[in-house]
Structures are given as structure tokens and as C-alpha cells.
Amino acid sequence: MTRELAVDLRAVHKRFGSVHALRGADLKVPKGSIFALIGPNGAGKTTLFGLCCGFLRADTGTVEILGGAPDALRFKGRLGALPQDAMLGRDITIREHLVFLARLQGMELAHAHSEAMRVLGLVDLVDLAERRAGALSHGQVKRVGVAQAFLGEPELILLDEPTAGLDPRNAHDLRALIRDRRGRQTIVVSSHNLQELEAICDEAAFIEKGQTIEAGAIATLTARDAEIHVQLAPGPEPLDELRARVANLGVTWDPAARTLRLRFQPSPERIAEDVIAEVLRELLAAGARISALGKGRSLEQRYLDQAPATE
């Protein structure tokens, strides 16, 4: 079954003078998904966002957004974005900014006013609606940026580092806001906080040096269905017994972290929970003491695992 894509970038190259920012990047974002764009500084994430929004033009390659080439008039009200480092006019109130942008999306004045207040409510800034943008803190400006991206509830929302500079409370609320849109809107998020992305996203792509290294469902990337890890308390380390008694299990032991990493091939007859039960039974029978247990590896660990390979 082919999935309908909200974003479809193929073999995209983009240069800024001597800097080759994107080197054949691919990106496929299914409609309705919450998608994470992961990569180090300078990997090309912001350039990808810029191409999707039509701010930047690809040198070569294909960019299809919501079924066509980037075009502001086609995007009108269908695409929202939080552009990185874009500033608001300092002497205009945030309500005026939002009303202006809502009207540019095609809303009539009264609707634009109510929509501006609604999105300010999403980021808890209703009380500051009449404050000039120049009088806001960095975090408040970021929240206004997020708010404008949600004006009119567009089909596709691109958020470049949305939680950078936000306090924990607001970052938490924003994650909840994004999670709440799952299945209704397509949201692409870039962030350096991989725990955050793992918690809210369905799919992800790793970008490194302008190329897409790997992409897929978070569950697949983190091997949530094909790997378990068990942390043992000081005491017996029955690795050989485990290898001998549990079939088709790849076992690695990290003595420093006292963590067993167990890989297996999942099947309908042998899902992760079956393996967990089997492994625990053997470990407990051998006298091991278990401190912690988990499925897969964190997105952060997965990222760190693949990052050196790209050097």
C-alpha cells in the first residue's frame, strides 16, 4: 500500500556559495504523521525546511509539498511554519501580527481576530496579546512563532526547533499540542532533544552532511520490536546460560553499564513480550538480580550508534 505523502523530496541538492548544504537529500513524510528531522548542527535541516516552504530554491532534485511544487498561493492556509531566526516587527503588537498573517491566509477581519486569540491561547499568550513584539522575551517570541504556524489549522506544519529557548513547562505544553494533532495534521519537527522527538513523533529521518542517512518509523529505528535491554544489579552475570537456553538471540554485554542488549527476529509467533518472558525466566533462574528492563533503544542511542559510521 502506498501512503499519501505530504512532503516528498528526492535527490535534492542545494549550495550556498562554496557550502554544499544538501547533497542529494531525500525526505518522505506521510500525511497525518508527526515526523522528526534529526541531525547535528549544519546537517541541512533548516535548509530542508526552507526548501519545503519555498523560501529557498533547490539547485537540482524534486521538491513536492502537498502534492505540488512549493508555491505560496497554493500553500495559502494549507502550510504553516515556524521559520528559524525570522523576526517580528518590534513595534507591532503580537495580536496585530497574527491578525495580519491570518488575513493574508484569506480570513476576514472578524475571523482573523478570533483565530489570532485562539492560537495565542494554544501557547498561553492571551494575556500578552497587546504587547509589542519588541517587548517580549526570547521564549515568548518563539511561542508567537509557534502560534502563527497554527493559524487556521493548516494541513502541514513545519516546526524548526520549536522548543529551543522554551522553559520546561511551555516545552511540555507544546509537545502536548503537537501530539494532539496526530492523525489530523502532518507536523514535521526538528529538534536536538531526541527524547522529546521520540515521545511525540511517529516517524523520523536522520540527516547528516546534507544527506538522509536513514528514515522510517520510530519503532523501527529504535528497534522497539526487535531488541530488549536488561540492566543487572551487582551479582551473577549468567550470559552463557542465556546464550545456551534462549534460541536465536544475539546477546551483548556492557559491563560498565551492566546492561544486556538482546536482539532477535520478531515474528507473529515470537513477539518482544514473549522474548522478555523467556529471558527473565532464565535470568531469575540463574540467580541474576534485575534492575531495569526496556524495549528497543532510545532514539538518542540509535542516533549516536549511527553517527560515527557516517564519519
Binding site: 550556498f16 505560496a72 521559520p83 525570522a86 517580528l88 495580519f100 498573517l101 488575513r103
Partner: protein, 296 residues
């Protein structure tokens, strides 16, 4: 979604309105008004001083001679000198010179000085029309919601409205200074003449605004945009000084057309209006060729 021409016009209006509001809030408009009032007051002051000196000279000559005929003769010389001056400014076009003579002299002095300063005034105040938004990336919020063409036209319209308002307010010192310092000053005639030159000033300003919009679309930084705007204006001013056959290039200069805007013959006036509007559109479109493809 089908985007109608009406939708584009609406976007242009919204951007122009927002730009004007921002100009008012940032007190940019206030600074522009004050600068222009200074220019207008200076022009009026210069005129008042010249008139006072001429009247003193006439009084002295006629007083010493004690001869009314001498005073009448001096007035004739003045009239002839004034006509020759107008003929010079009109480029030898007698019809235009005669028509200019129907304006109160103070209005002509103000208009001439105003049109001389306006291009540089526009270059030094509107250079960041687009480049400022590019520099701060503010443009990205709008570029997601409307076309780049609508953005440029909206900004141009906003600046044109601002220039129109500023030049309109610039007429106030002329009538105030004239009423205070000139004996027998005809307030109504001067005010009406000023109002009739206002659209001429605005149309001429549009030609220069087109050049500045071109510069602002070419550059990403406001500093570079200002330098390019002033450089382009200087280049286009040089066009008016070139010998034949290069002097054809002066057709590309709004300076060349400004006299035609005052012409009594309607075809000459329409030609000049069309040329200024065409230059505004042409220079803006030239910049847009780059702007529509550039990274924001």
C-alpha cells in the same frame, strides 16, 4: 485552490496597510514628515528671503529716482527675467513656460526644490523597503501566505502612500510661511496651486520609488540596498547629462519627465505620467526578476 486577481489585490492592500502601520509605529513616518517639513520650510524661507530682497531693491531704486515710471520699468524687467527663467527651466518650451507662469512663484519654487530633493530623500528613506525584511527574515512569515509579487507591490504601495502623505503635509509650511511673511499673500490661490502640484510630485516620486525598489530587491542587507539605491540614482541622473546619441538614455530617468508633468498640453502631460508610472513598473519588474528567484 484558485487564487483570484481580487485575492492578489487584497494581499497587496493588506501588506501596504501593515507596512504603513509599521511606519507609523516605528516613528519612521514621523521622521520622514519632519525631514520633509524641513525641506519645505527651507524652500519657503528661501523664497521669502529672495522676495524681500527684490522688494527692497525695487523700493530703493524707485525711492532714489522718485519716479513711478522707474518702478514700473523695474517690474517689467523682473517679469521678463522671471519669464526667461521659466523658459530655461521649461527647456525652451514656451507653452510650458507660459503655463508655469500661471502658478504662484512660491509654489513653483517649492515644487522645484521638492522635486530636486525627493529622489535622494526616497533613496535614503525607502532603501530597506524589501531588503530590511530580507535581512530580518520577517519576509518569511508573509512569503508563506502570499506571492512574492504581491509582497513587492504591497511594499511599493505602502511606501507610495507614505510619500504621498509626507509630500502632502510638506505643503503646510509653504502656506503658513507665505501667510506670515509675504504681504498680500493669496492663501486660497496658493493652496489650490499646491494641491494641483501634489499629484505631479507623487507621480514623479513613483518613478524614483521604482528605482529604489529595484535596489531593495537586489540586496539582502539594508546597507547594501542604500548604497545601490543612491548609486543607481546617481547613474540615472548622469543619463540626463550625456551628449548625443547617448542622451537617449535620459528617457530612462524620471528627471527627464518631470517638466512634462506640468505641461498644459494634455498629451504631453499624459506621456510624462505614463513614462513615470512605466519607469516605476519597469524598474520594479527588473528587480523582481532577481527577487522572484532569490533565496529568502
Amino acid at each position: 485552490m484558485h487564487v483570484t486577481r481580487r485575492g492578489l489585490l487584497r494581499d497587496i492592500g493588506l501588506i501596504a496597510g501593515f507596512d504603513l502601520r509599521e511606519s507609523l509605529r516605528t516613528r519612521r513616518a514621523l521622521v520622514l514628515v519632519l525631514l520633509y517639513l524641513l525641506i519645505a520650510a527651507s524652500a519657503s524661507g528661501i523664497y521669502v528671503q529672495i522676495m524681500a530682497q527684490i522688494q527692497d531693491s525695487v523700493a530703493t531704486i524707485s525711492g532714489v529716482a522718485g519716479d513711478p515710471q522707474a518702478a514700473a520699468g523695474m517690474a517689467m524687467v523682473q517679469d521678463e527675467g522671471y519669464r526667461m527663467l521659466l523658459l530655461f527651466f521649461a527647456g525652451g518650451d514656451a507653452a510650458l513656460a507660459d503655463h508655469l507662469a500661471t502658478y504662484p512663484p512660491m509654489v513653483l519654487v517649492y515644487s522645484w526644490i521638492s522635486l530636486a530633493f525627493l529622489p535622494w530623500f526616497i533613496a535614503l528613506t525607502s532603501y530597506d523597503l524589501i531588503a530590511g525584511d530580507l535581512h530580518l527574515r520577517t519576509i518569511r512569515y508573509a512569503a508563506l501566505r502570499t506571492s512574492r509579487g504581491a509582497f513587492v507591490l504591497g511594499k511599493l504601495l505602502g511606501q507610495a502612500a507614505l510619500v504621498a502623505a509626507v509630500t502632502g503635509l510638506g505643503m503646510l509650511p509653504v502656506v503658513v510661511i507665505g501667510a506670515i511673511y509675504l504681504p498680500g499673500f493669496d492663501f486660497v490661490a496658493t493652496a489650490l496651486a499646491l494641491l494641483s502640484t501634489w499629484p505631479i510630485t507623487v507621480v514623479c516620486a513613483l518613478g524614483f520609488l521604482g528605482i529604489v525598489t529595484l535596489a531593495s530587491q537586489l540586496c539582502k542587507g539594508p546597507g547594501a540596498a542604500r548604497a545601490v539605491a543612491v548609486g543607481l540614482l546617481f547613474l540615472i541622473w548622469i543619463f540626463t547629462l550625456l551628449p548625443e546619441p547617448l542622451n537617449r538614455l535620459e528617457l530612462l530617468s524620471p528627471w527627464h519627465w518631470k517638466f512634462g508633468l506640468f505641461h498644459p498640453a494634455i498629451d504631453q502631460r499624459l506621456l510624462a505620467i505614463g513614462a513615470c508610472l512605466g519607469l516605476c513598473a519597469g524598474y520594479t519588474a527588473l528587480g523582481y526578476l532577481r527577487f522572484r528567484r532569490r533565496d529568502l
